[in-house]
């Protein structure tokens, strides 16, 4: 049994017949080959799989692909425009906001929405806003600095 879905991903429409149980993250990774979105847990705790769905930061490991039908998705691959890094990507690079990089796509996608929703976040706002995204490498200090820096550019 499959469902037909049509999802705009990073500006392009993709049509597919998918099992209703297929997770959005597996649709992105296995069906579309967009492997930039990572899977770090199976309980919606870590945020590595965070993407944008219809303007919201969403954990794609606890969203079904069919829920994205007719919707608009942006993944880490679609964040840079015309070869220009998004200010958030640039800030993570400039301020050493990543080490192994596995949480990074989700962290960046969450941080972009955090700043869009609150353009001048305090350190406490950022720390609170990212509590749903886990990083085991950086100790968060440089992530916070990167988000602060990017917020000033966005």
């Amino acid at each position: 049994m499959t469902e037909h879905i049509s999802v705009m991903v990073n500006g392009r429409v993709h049509e597919a017949d998918v099992e209703p149980r297929l997770l959005l993250v597996h649709f992105l990774r296995d069906v579309l080959g967009l492997t930039g979105t990572n899977i770090g847990c199976d309980t919606s705790q870590c945020g590595a799989c965070t993407i944008h769905l219809n303007g919201l930061a969403v954990k794609s490991c606890t969203t079904l692909a069919v829920q994205a039908d007719g919707g608009e998705v942006t993944t880490i691959e679609g964040l840079a425009r015309n070869g220009q890094l998004h200010p958030m990507q640039q800030a993570f690079w400039d301020l050493h906001g990543l080490q192994c990089g596995y949480c990074t796509p989700g962290m960046i996608m969450a941080a972009v929405k955090l700043v869009e929703n609150k353009p001048h976040p305090s350190e406490a706002d950022i720390r609170h806003g990212l509590e749903g995204n886990l990083c085991r490498c950086t100790g968060y200090q440089n992530i916070v600095a990167a988000v602060q820096h990017a917020a000033a550019q966005m």
Partner: protein, 780 residues
């Protein structure tokens, strides 16, 4: 040496692929015809397998094969080898079949594998495998495991005792009988789950015509993986290619050779198509190694002036159900030998009992043995200070080993390389403005607030290590490193290294070294690692050894390149070799630097070889090995300030000061990043993290919902500084920095909380110091 880039915090070259989603981790890889493997795991901590019925699973849609341990054994796959057996400890190494055959010994023990055309179908079929178990009594605690009447795991390890190892120096009994004060503690250094953000994964492609296999795997040490796979897969070492692509963190959990690595090869061989396995997080918490898990009874003897004269202890170290790759070395060599810390403790004795339990195997987790040692020493030093009503900083200062720059032997027999422990403490005290910090604590206490200040001064052993020592202590491999430096005609450089970084940034720092040493632009250097077919043999990335040992190999190769380049330059400049000088990428005749040949000129000539000196081979490439003469011993002092909420017991970390010394710093930005991350992992142990088993051996913290990981909102800005005491055991004077934060911060924060609770008379409290635990202790 021209110092243009060494020491500067240039941005990481690894990052562009990571911030754009273009990096390829193991699970990102897909091969034509690839199938997916799912592992059926035991829900029992201890049970006899009565039967396994795979017939229903085998008939399910998309299923390509269902295999048991017997089938794997019949196909010639052997048991998982343990690669570290500590001599003199009568170590038992019971059989560790990759898939359990007669008995399961922990929740998560593999009992069968299912391979299907996609992830979902494989999982469906895994649920249809029917296994009948006869449950047996289980034991999870390392102390209880060796008590009379405990359930027995392995017939060839009576009383669940894997080993009894001792470390002894001086005359500890005499020290305790002559001491003026003795302090004791019982410490539970609790079990932790490493939780690298990327779960493990493995993808095998087998070529039956050639009996060759390629394994893409989440590994910190692909060359060790290949070596060990050659022992249990029956495929010879030279026919195995192991590739560690992008690896999303390890913290020790990706050192071991795991059963699943062999299983995917087995499945790929049986089905003659590529097979991939990717762990779920819940599976990771059961099937990937855990860390720490000691029960410790320890005591320290001192004189009334605060001078420490002895340390004595007994430790029951949990090894889990089977021996993982480096498991037995962690609570012995990497723990017991470090009990002198940064102090002159003339008399030391510890008994370590390694025990088998019905739990996930335990192996190296960030710090690996040193956090367990440092915590003992730093806790006892605080208790001495308390008993004598001395300032904890003063007791530390009084007992520090005096500054030394050419070796210092401690009672456990180790020879520390270089150290200046006073310098780090003084700097940390100055940053904290310690008298003012204590003054504010007094004021806050007067207002009824529970404020505490905690110290950890540490020295740690890393940069593993001299291979001769590795052999002497029973490690089943060497610990040297190798590197190939290769110039191309255009003057660009590839460096191939045996180490295998996975987030630590050595693609950048190693390029910085090469650029400085050979006078090429840093962007003209590419560092390649993580592929046994592409890189020379090396022992991998763990034990904070990558830079300390790996750069030594690179420096040796660079030296050979310079020597050859000098010969070619002399020929081109029509001068004698001994008249050629080198500086900053240029070779010239003494006194006439204007007429020089650049390293790029020489690389071109050596590669085209149109005009080489007689008898000199073409090419500009060198391969070198480096076996360090000693370990390196980074050190430092960390100070934590906490406040405990009187109503809830919640601990808030208010300030954290870290002064660390890792010798010379190649890239301060990267070094600071390592310290930040290390601190947070250590604080996680102090305050939140604990792998909890119930009395039946069920893991209660089996997912991220129950295992409390540090989050962004629970930390202040860390205040960092360095001192610089170069080592003399490698050419660049560099020590390791990957584990120091974790080694130091657990004890610093624990000591701070105990200091906060001191006015309430709280004396005993086990980690993690959750609000509930602290609140209960406060109620007396």
């Amino acid at each position: 040496m021209a110092s243009r880039i060494f020491g500067s915090g240039i941005k990481r070259r690894e990052d562009p692929r990571l911030i754009t989603g273009q990096a390829k981790y193991t699970d990102d890889l897909t091969l034509p015809g690839m199938a997916y493997m799912v592992v059926v795991r035991s829900p029992h901590a201890h049970a006899r397998i009565q039967s396994i019925d795979t017939s229903m699973a085998a008939m399910m849609p998309g299923v390509l094969g269902v295999f048991t341990g017997q089938a794997m054994q019949a196909a010639g796959f052997g048991n998982i080898p343990c690669a570290w057996v500590v001599p003199g400890s009568n170590t038992k190494t019971p059989a560790y079949p990759p898939i359990a055959i007669e008995r399961v010994r922990y929740v998560g023990n593999a009992v069968a594998v299912v391979v299907a055309t996609d992830r979902y179908r494989a999982r469906d079929a895994a649920e249809a495998v029917r296994v009948e178990y006869e449950p047996l009594p289980a034991v999870a605690n390392p102390y209880q495991a060796v008590q009379a009447g405990a359930p027995q795991l392995h017939d060839d390890a009576p009383d669940n005792l894997c080993f009894h190892w001792q470390v002894s120096g001086g005359d500890v009994d005499a020290a305790f009988s002559s001491a003026e004060v003795v302090v004791k503690d019982k410490i539970i250094n609790q079990r932790l789950i490493p939780t690298a953000m990327e779960p493990r994964a493995a993808l095998a492609q087998y070529n039956s015509a050639m009996n060759e296999v390629t394994l893409w795997v989440t590994s910190q040490n692909p060359h060790i993986a290949r070596f060990l796979l050659s022992l249990d897969t029956g495929i010879p070492e030279h026919k195995i290619r192991v590739i560690a692509p992008e690896v999303g963190g390890g913290f020790g959990s990706k050192i071991p050779h795991y059963p699943e690595d062999a299983m995917v090869i087995f499945a790929a061989k049986m089905l003659n198509r590529p097979v991939k396995w990717t762990e779920t997080r819940s599976e990771n918490y059961l099937a990937t190694i855990h860390g720490r898990d000691h029960v410790q009874e320890v005591e320290m003897a001192a004189m009334s002036d605060g001078r420490i004269v002895g340390l004595r202890g007994k430790v029951w170290a949990n090894l889990g159900a089977y021996l993982s790759t480096a498991s037995t070395g962690v609570p012995t060599i990497l723990h017991g030998l470090m009990l002198s810390g940064c102090y002159d403790i003339p008399n030391i004795h510890e008994d370590v009992y390694g025990t088998f339990t019905n739990t996930t195997p335990v192996d190296a987790y960030r710090g690996a043995g040193r956090p367990e040692a440092t915590f003992i020493v730093e806790r006892l030093v605080d208790l001495v200070a308390q008993a004598l009503q001395m300032d904890p900083a003063e007791v530390r200062r009084k007992n520090f080993i005096s500054p030394f720059d050419n070796g210092h032997t401690v009672a456990t027999g180790l020879i520390y390389d270089t150290g200046n422990y006073h310098g780090a403490l003084d700097k940390a005290l100055a940053m904290a403005d310690y008298p003012a910090m204590r003054q504010r604590q007094t004021e806050r206490r007067a207002q009824g607030k529970l404020v505490g200040i905690g110290f950890c001064s540490y020295a740690e052993i890393c940069g593993l290590g001299p291979s001769q020592v590795a052999g002497a202590v029973g490690f089943g491999g060497g610990l040297w490193e190798s590197a190939i430096v290769r110039f191309y005609p255009s003057g660009k450089v590839n460096v191939m290294v045996g180490v295998s970084p996975h987030g630590q940034g050595e693609e950048t720092t190693f390029a910085q070294i090469v650029a400085d040493e050979l006078g090429v632009a840093v962007d003209d250097v590419e560092v390649l690692h993580g592929d046994t077919d592409q890189t020379p043999m090396g022992w991998g990335t763990y034990g904070s050894r990558t830079t300390a040992v790996g750069s030594g190999a690179m420096m040796a190769a660079i030296k050979k390149i310079k020597e050859k380049a000098k010969i070619v330059a002399a020929h081109l400049l029509e001068a004698a070799v001994e008249d050629i000088e080198y500086s900053d990428g240029k070779f010239y005749v003494k006194g006439s630097p204007g007429k020089a040949k650049t390293i790029q000129d020489i690389a071109l000539m050596a590669n085209v070889a149109w005009n080489m000196p007689a008898g000199v081979e073409p090419g500009l490439e060198a391969s070198a090995f480096f076996d360090p003469p000693n370990f390196v011993y980074p050190f430092g002092t960390h100070i934590a300030q906490v406040e405990v909420d009187r109503e809830t017991g919640a601990v808030s970390l208010q300030r954290y000061i870290a002064v660390d010394d890792c010798g010379r710093v190649i890239n301060p930005m990267i070094v600071q990043g390592q310290i930040h991350g290390g601190i947070v992992q250590g604080v996680g142990q102090a305050l939140w993290e604990e792998a909890v088993y119930d009395e039946n051996g069920q893991l209660l913290t089996g997912s991220m919902m129950d295992y409390a990981l540090p989050r962004a909102d629970t930390f202040p800005q860390f205040e960092l500084a360095m001192t610089e005491t170069p080592t003399n055991v490698n050419p660049l004077g560099v020590k390791g920095i990957g584990e120091t934060g974790t080694i130091a911060s657990t004890a610093a924060v624990y000591n701070a909380v105990m200091d906060a609770l001191a006015p309430l008379g709280v004396k005993e409290l086990n980690m993690p110091l959750t609000a509930e635990r602290v609140w209960r202790a406060m109620q007396g």
